[in-house]
């Protein structure tokens, strides 16, 4: 079980650091790369939670498809580097960070105060079973088949919409 904790600490640290670096880097490509690292470490966290299917889907969908798309657009339009943190409207930014830290402290306090771990105790067998692709597939195509189809239509309409929006208008 100590292995689990070591893995959690490593992935959590990578996740947080890469998230913060993503927000603070001025070069958009570097930011996108740190977001990829972040998604990879999240996939690792999902594995420590026995959610194998979602972990692999995270890598395939987020790291493999969505972030490549982001990188593609960044390379295509090559936006100029942004100004550094304190060069532009520093008061506003410091205020934003302070508010975020405050809200985070509140949430952390609520989480620790309400002690959710007293209410749930993880049974390893049940949590492993919940994460297998068989279990997810069965639920997805029986109980949740209507939302599944709806998501299919959503993706179709998104694809059409993206085509219409990004297409060059000929005059």
């Amino acid at each position: 079980m100590t292995l689990e904790i070591v893995l959690f600490v490593i992935f959590a640290l990578v996740c947080l650091v890469s998230g913060i670096l993503m927000v603070t880097r001025v070069n958009p490509v570097i930011s996108a790369l740190f977001l990829v690292v972040n998604f990879g470490s999240l996939a690792g966290l999902y594995l420590t939670l026995n959610a194998q299917f979602i972990a692999v889907a995270q890598v395939i969908i987020y790291a493999g498809a969505i972030m490549v798309f982001f990188l593609f657009v960044i390379m295509l339009i090559n936006p100029e580097h942004e100004k550094r943190f304190l060069e532009y409207k520093p008061q506003l930014k410091i205020f934003a960070v302070a508010i975020a830290v405050l809200v985070f402290l509140q949430i952390a306090y609520i989480i620790l105060f309400s002690k959710p771990s007293e209410g749930v105790s993880r049974e390893v067998a049940a949590s492993v079973k919940a994460g297998t692709i068989e279990q997810i597939g069965r639920e997805l195509f029986t109980k949740y088949v209507l939302p599944f189809e709806a998501v299919g239509y959503l993706l179709l309409s998104a694809a059409i919409g993206a085509l219409v929006l990004a297409k060059k208008k000929f005059k």
């Binding site: 490509v29 570097i30 790369l33 990829v36 194998q52 299917f53 692999v56 889907a57 890598v59 395939i60 790291a63 493999g64 498809a65 490549v68 798309f69 990188l71 593609f72 390379m75 295509l76 692709i133």
Partner: protein, 343 residues
């Protein structure tokens, strides 16, 4: 088996696979040159060693001695990172490809695969989807317009063909009812090879594999006449060698996947009817896997020296308007087979 023994056996397997892969990759470059020479009626490399057999070592030695040049406008860290990503992804995919049946050695049952993951096929898909980064970042970080064009092309091309690749794998999964590569191989016993049961899926997968490995006729990311060298224009020395190795390693992995998913993996049809001793059967089956792998690799090389390069719009049209619908038709075909014959 204790945890120590499992780790030891895995380490041995990893070392074996990595060293074999490096050797195969370097000799693949030799065979590429020999086959191109054969196609073009030349002799090919014949000076270093007998029949030029030491040529790969000479190549590696030459690349090591070259100066490592980083362009002034390049992003140094990412310029270094990109070939590493390409090589890492190419070599780690082989972990889930089974190259033989379970064998009994020194009192242990050892499955001849590095990692018997129950989501093996998804693992492969995840890693191939990451292989885009190596090429795209190489193109971007070089700070050269040819490289950038190559990188953008590679990301669009690989994402497009990943879709038809994923859908053709869908047909295989319908029949095998499992994502474990070993189970997929075992589901193709006898002549029930997926290449025979679902020929359309086999063709779409083959074409997508060519596009994913950036081989001719789909080597648009590095098209020499248009883009100088594409994404690796600004690379030299061992960084270039890393890209070169990863391209050939990708070819071996694509061939391994094709053999595993469509050509029955290590299986030889009806070999168990002959009543041979199990050790010999296992050896023959590993041999069969290698034979199929080499046959597909030869096909890769043969196609490269026979077909011209596609134009970019033709490539996209083929991917989206031909390969994608065909892979969907394949899924319907397999579903019909299952419905009618109850396979």
């Amino acid at each position: 088996m204790g945890i120590g023994e499992i780790i030891l056996i895995s380490l041995v397997k990893i070392l074996l696979i990595i060293s074999l892969l490096f050797l195969t990759v370097s000799y693949l470059t030799y065979f590429e040159r020999k086959i191109s020479a054969w196609v073009q009626n030349r002799i090919g490399p014949n000076r270093v060693g007998w029949k030029g057999l030491l040529q790969p070592f000479a190549d590696v030695f030459k690349l090591m001695l070259k100066e490592d040049i980083v362009p002034e406008k390049a992003d140094r860290i990412i310029h270094l990172l990109a070939p590493m990503i390409a090589l890492f992804v190419a070599f780690s995919t082989f972990a889930v490809i089974p190259f033989g049946p379970e064998v009994h050695l020194f009192g242990y049952d050892i499955p001849l695969v590095v990692a018997d993951v129950n989501m093996g096929v998804l693992f492969v898909l995840a890693l191939t989807s990451l292989s885009v980064y190596g090429l795209t970042l190489a193109g971007w970080s070089s700070g050269s317009k040819y490289s950038l064009l190559g990188g953008i092309r590679s990301s669009a091309q690989m994402i497009s063909y990943e879709i038809s690749m994923g859908f053709s794998i869908g047909g295989v999964l319908l029949l095998s009812e499992s994502l474990r590569p070993i189970a997929i191989v075992e589901s193709q016993s006898g002549w029930m090879w997926n290449a025979i049961v679902q020929p359309i899926g086999f063709i779409t997968f083959l074409v997508s594999a060519f596009a994913e490995t950036n081989r001719l006729p789909f080597d648009l990311p590095e098209a020499e006449p248009e883009l100088v060298g594409g994404f690796h224009t600004e690379y030299s020395s061992m960084k270039f060698a890393a890209f070169f190795l990863s391209e050939y390693a990708n070819m071996i992995i694509a061939s391994g996947l094709i053999v595993t998913l469509y050509l029955g993996g290590w299986q030889i049809p009806y070999i168990d009817l002959l009543g041979l001793p199990s050790g010999l059967v296992a050896l023959l089956q590993v041999g069969a896997f290698i034979f199929k792998l080499v046959a597909i690799l030869f096909f890769f090389l043969w196609v490269r020296w026979s077909l011209p390069r596609f134009r970019y719009d033709q490539l996209m049209n083929l991917g989206w308007k031909v390969m994608f619908p065909l892979s969907l038709i394949n899924i319907i075909w397999v579903a019909l087979l299952i419905m009618i014959f109850g396979l």
